[in-house]
């Protein structure tokens, strides 16, 4: 196949000594070269290809209405455009126009345009915060002090051997493909921060090292949203939620499917287990219930780790 050989587009100027190669016989040859050039970088090439051609292929598959309906499912019709947008292979304006070109009714495309808006919002915040994006934007609302969180990633997480089929599956995908569905990012982040009580910065840095779309804007601020330093309350989930949106694919093969699953509980039980009593959390909950919505209902104002943002449902 022609696409197997990787030749850079021709240059109209002479190359200088010491510049990096632009022609490879195959992807394997590129990988071998990069391992030599960047010996400290862990891992191998992602099955996800970089470049404008692949970005346009994905752009041509956009289905805004199907996206709106199925985006919360791990196998749902999400765009997978985030790595290309993050590196400007496609601009947000180009993606916006591609969505418009496929828009029959405004309502059908509102969700996808809204998610592009999240990307723009995070970028504007990064511009405003600069490197301060690594600091808590607000106090945590978990009832635990910042000092209660571990500052480094435990080995079982970095190595993907937590014993939880879902989390180990997400970690393997993060390490091999460099891309995760937004729902998987949120579950993994909540597991780290709330169940394992690890500082969000350690998780954010781990993601940035591996995610093809990683930038401190969408990534760090979404971690802060999960942790509750950029939201009114912490994000967490339970087994029912994960099982539903993953179509049970992890739970079926999990060694803890019958007993021992740390997520297998009601939201009330998990809240009592994970968070220390904090008057502010109860007050927020109370207001929400009066409004007819519980803490895990869909909210306008919940952030997106990437371009698709799952609703929080039981």
């Amino acid at each position: 196949m022609a696409s197997d050989s990787l030749a850079g587009v021709p240059l109209a100027w002479p190359e200088q000594p010491g510049e990096l190669p632009r022609r490879f016989d195959s992807r394997q040859a590129l990988e071998a070269e990069l391992q030599q050039l960047f010996p400290e970088a862990p891992g191998a090439l992602s099955p996800i290809r970089g470049g404008r051609r692949q970005a346009e292929t994905l752009l041509n598959r956009l289905q805004p209405e199907r996206y709106a309906k199925g985006r919360n499912f791990l196998d749902g019709p999400v765009t997978r455009l985030s790595p290309y947008i993050r590196h400007g292979v496609l601009t947000l304006a180009e993606v916006r126009d591609a969505v418009f070109a496929r828009t029959r009714s405004r309502q059908g495309s509102e969700k996808l345009i809204n998610e592009l808006g999240w990307r723009d919002y995070w970028q504007r915040l990064w511009q405003q915060l600069g490197d301060g994006i690594w600091r808590d934007q607000e106090e945590l609302k978990t009832g635990h002090s910042a000092a209660a969180y571990a500052s480094t990633l435990p080995a079982d997480i970095d190595e993907g051997r937590t014993g939880l089929a879902c989390m180990d599956g997400f970690i393997a995908e993060l390490h091999t493909s460099g891309w995760l569905h937004n729902h998987a990012r949120m579950w993994l982040a909540a597991y780290l921060v709330h169940w394992r009580r690890i500082r969000w910065q350690a998780g954010a840095q781990w993601f940035l090292r591996h995610l093809l779309d990683g930038d401190p804007a969408s990534n760090n601020l979404s971690w802060q949203w999960v942790a509750s330093s950029f939201s009114h309350k912490p994000y967490f989930f339970n087994r029912g939620n994960l099982e539903r949106y993953s179509n049970g694919s992890f739970c079926r093969s999990c060694a803890l499917r019958e007993q021992g699953c740390p997520f297998d509980a009601s939201y009330e039980q998990l809240e009592a287990e994970l968070f220390a009593p904090l008057p502010a959390i109860r007050a927020v909950d109370h207001r929400n219930r009066e409004g007819g919505r519980d803490r895990n209902s869909t909210r306008q104002g919940a952030p997106s780790a990437a371009l698709s943002r799952p609703a929080r449902r039981r």
Partner: protein
């Protein structure tokens, strides 16, 4: 600007890069940023955390994006390599695109000590007059959504 070289950075690796559009025939360079790839910059690492290198899959993705662009590739200290590239091509200035990452502006400042730098804006997703309230997404979106959809109306 007469006879510039173009500096492409990691936020604009597509044909809509305004520097490539404005100077399609001038030599362009991308530099794999050694400090950033080592996890030593806030772009990839917590300033207070341990320094850990970026994975090969991220580097490979960038590399494949770059092979589809007319750009020479280097690695090392970005400002030093861009200036060396400019000297090799007898350039009288450097053109690049605006970046969100504060590191882009910092590198431009270093470059400016040696050569004039022109920074071109990328087409925005939405143009908002005056400062936007970014306290929460809902406040930003209340303003932005209307503006975004106004451009659909114009096209449709």
């Amino acid at each position: 600007m007469q006879r510039p070289i173009l500096w492409l950075h990691g936020e604009a690796l597509g044909p809509a890069n305004p520097a490539l559009l404005a100077y399609p025939d001038r030599p362009a360079v991308f530099v794999f940023d050694s400090a950033l790839l080592a996890g030593l910059s806030p772009t990839t690492g917590d300033p207070e955390g341990p320094n850990e290198p970026v994975s090969l899959q991220r580097i490979g993705f960038l590399y494949e994006c770059l092979l589809e662009l007319p750009v020479s590739l280097r690695k090392g200290d970005v400002a030093e390599e861009v200036l060396a590239f400019a000297r090799a091509h007898g350039a009288e200035g450097i053109v690049t695109s605006a970046g969100t990452d504060p590191r882009v502006a910092a590198i431009c400042q270093t470059l400016e000590q040696q050569l004039p730098v022109e920074v071109l804006a990328v087409e925005p997703f939405v143009q908002l007059e005056g400062p936007a309230d970014l306290g929460r997404f809902s406040r930003y979106w209340r303003r932005a959504e209307r503006e975004v959809w106004a451009s659909w109306g114009q096209e449709g």
